[in-house]
Subunit: 438 residues, 2 copies
């Protein structure tokens, strides 16, 4: 039986898992592929370092050319992460005529145009299932399962760290810092958590999703990003009283020829499936114009789930090789001639509902003034709750307002006008409310 | 731009939706495929019948050879349903060298060996995504997304009619007949509901899932099937008190070289995602040895969701044609040489936990006798609840027992021994409890 040789860049957690899976599951993989798969070369920064897996049968080097110039290597796997060196590897492999598998959402999001232009130019395959939502085959759903549908909407919980933190805050009333510390203790958050909790990781993944859904090359820098640091247990409690959970969502939709692409915390109705997604789990809601709402759920991170997705991409490319073709499905779902240059909609132009928490002094006429300013800015109010009165006239009270659908620019203008009013006793909290088309 | 011509058997709800989608979404389909798709011929029982869609550009006939013998037809779509005539169509198309798309789970399950042997023999593609869980791309997840994983377990809510009925019974305490009547009124159940509520439809779908997961050719007749007619609002209430919902599940796993494949009502822990799947929605839980638990959720029936899946299969085959290949992925996930002849495990040998509801006369010593018989048969009790005492000595009371994991044969033997005891005042209810590996 023929064996396809793989060259792997990076032998960290995911890389080691990929090697392990290819060994442990070689029987089932052979039965599905009719060929064998073997990582025969690896390139790492420090070849002498000890690894969690046996590497006797892998030729390890620090020199990329040992993989890129080896004609026996038919598939290149990039798992070094980062943007610069990884980009050199991926472009180098494509230029050498080798198909690529990568889990690197940062690279795919920050250098989308450069990478995908090269993939289209070479007509080679790029496997990137592991870059979004770990082992959940959500990119395949976009490229194949919903290939006859217009993608109406994408709404995803795609960062397990944030979802874990928000789940703990919700279950225990813990403040953000405490839930973050617990996540770090359990290995669900990095020592420097900024990349996750500030929403950048989710925005990288959203760029990949948007580009596959709409056949375009939006980049990370075009995406509006807010993280979860400002969410308080009080907000979670007030939201729950109104029938909502708070989740960090990555949202995309086509609207008037532009694409909305934004990552921020959202109120999600408690009876919506996304509100049931807790802990480190990920879930992506895809709505098509025919299939209506679908959801894919599973583990979004971790060596084995991510390794599983990398292996599925390797098998997909090996099936191309076996069939004698370079690729079957265009890298961004559409053929090169149909790529579009979609603009990301400015945030001021989006329309949504809002949760607002004002901190005000408990005086007569305060609510009238707030609602007057909002009315002047075309903001219509859905509900208003003042959960408790103040014990002392100088101690602020909380006022929770849920608005009807409004333009973001109008909403921001009303908050700017309200901020300097003399009864305002603290920063106003704004969280958007997610409504789903499916 | 080249247009691929499709021959369609059947122009009912799903067939009409497929034609509509191909027309309505022709721009997006062309952008993804780089070719056009057109239903140019249809074969129906009654060509003169009026249709819900314009058919001026479709040559309609009652003669199958108008499609099968037309060299211009490159893809055959079978949507007539049933087993005999549909089988003739599918085998005829394959023998004519034409790839096939079908939504026909009955055919795929009842004549699995015959159909798949022919598909393997011809090396043609058969698209069958629409046969399980409507528009949810769960077969693609099995064949591609989890291609590097051993499938540890499948647990699916794959019949929307049953899930709707159980959801209504749960939400409103309605008896089965009332919830069924409502489902019929809303078009969620057929006038003759047996096929759905007795579990046959779910078992057909399970056969398809099992064969794709394990590369085998299990048939419908091998699968243990129970429906939901015997479930009462009282059972749903007692289950809820113990922390469970009741769902009709299709379950499969590999166990000791045999495959468990069974459809029956199950208690599902309320905090498990499957317990949140309500109404006509479907969801399939797939657990892989690396990816762990994943779930796909969406609409399992209806013209547009099912049509969406048919169209995605047509596009997949058209991409093969464009790439110049007959097929890329083996029809049952594994290459022909690796097909296995797996035996379905006898129900007596499965092991699970049980919910039992005994109807007994309210006498001293009853619980002792029940537990003694169960103990003698190796059944260990997890909990026992007697929700109410009787007002009158002749009026039976309910005793709810949840058991630990036990062998089905032992469980059945204990019930046989308990049935004739003089305090038993009615049929004993048995519902299995689903535990998930992921």
């Amino acid at each position: 039986m023929r064996t396809i040789k793989i060259g792997m860049f990076g032998l960290g957690v995911v890389g080691s898992s990929v090697v392990s899976i290819l060994r442990k599951n070689q029987d089932i993989i052979r039965s599905r592929l009719g060929m064998g798969l073997k990582v025969s070369r690896a390139v790492v920064a420090n070849p002498g370092k000890s690894r969690p897996i046996p590497t006797d049968d892998i030729a390890i080097s620090s020199d990329p050319s040992t993989i890129l110039d080896d004609p026996e290597i038919e598939i290149v796997v990039e798992l070094i992460g980062g943007v610069d060196a990884a980009g050199t590897v991926v472009l180098g492999a494509l230029n050498a005529g080798k198909p690529v598998v990568t889990a690197n959402k940062a690279l795919l999001a920050e250098r989308a145009r450069e990478i995908f232009s090269k993939v289209y130019e070479t007509d080679l395959s790029i496997g990137m299932e592991a870059s979004v939502a770990g082992g959940i085959p959500v990119l395949r759903s976009l490229k194949e399962g919903l290939s006859g549908d217009h993608i109406v909407e994408i709404s995803g919980i795609v960062n397990g760290t944030c979802n874990y933190i928000l789940s703990r805050m919700s279950a225990e009333g813990a403040p953000f810092e405490e839930a973050l510390a617990e996540a770090q203790r359990l290995g669900f958050a990095e020592a420097d958590p900024a990349f996750d909790v500030d929403g950048y990781d989710a925005a990288h993944k959203l760029a990949v999703l948007v580009n596959l859904a709409y056949g375009t090359m939006v980049e990370f820098k075009d995406i509006h990003v807010e993280g979860i640091r400002a969410i308080t247990p009080a907000d979670i409690g007030y939201a729950r009283q109104q029938g909502y959970a708070i989740k960090l969502l990555a949202i995309a939709k086509l609207d008037d020829g532009e694409v909305e692409a934004r990552v921020h915390p959202c109120l999600v109705a408690l009876d919506h499936m996304l509100a049931s997604v807790n802990g480190v789990f990920n879930a992506v809601f895809l709505t098509g114009d025919n299939v209506d709402a679908t959801m894919s759920y599973g583990r979004g991170a971790g060596g084995e789930p991510t390794g599983s997705a990398v292996v599925s991409d390797i098998i997909d490319i090996a099936r191309n090789i076996k069939a004698g073709i370079r690729s079957k499905i265009p890298p961004l779902s559409v053929v090169a001639e149909s790529l579009r240059d979609l603009k990301v909609m400015e945030m001021g132009r989006i329309q949504t509902e809002y949760y607002l928490r004002f901190q005000v002094l408990d005086r007569v006429g305060v609510l009238a003034q707030i609602t007057r300013v909002m009315g002047q800015n075309n903001i219509s109010i859905q509900s208003m709750v003042q959960p408790a009165r103040s014990d002392h006239p100088d101690q602020p009270v909380q006022v929770i307002i849920l608005t009807h659908r409004a333009r973001e620019a109008d909403e921001m203008k009303s908050l700017e006008e309200i901020a300097p009013l003399d009864f305002i006793a603290g920063e106003t909290q704004l969280i958007r409310i997610a409504r789903f088309t499916g």
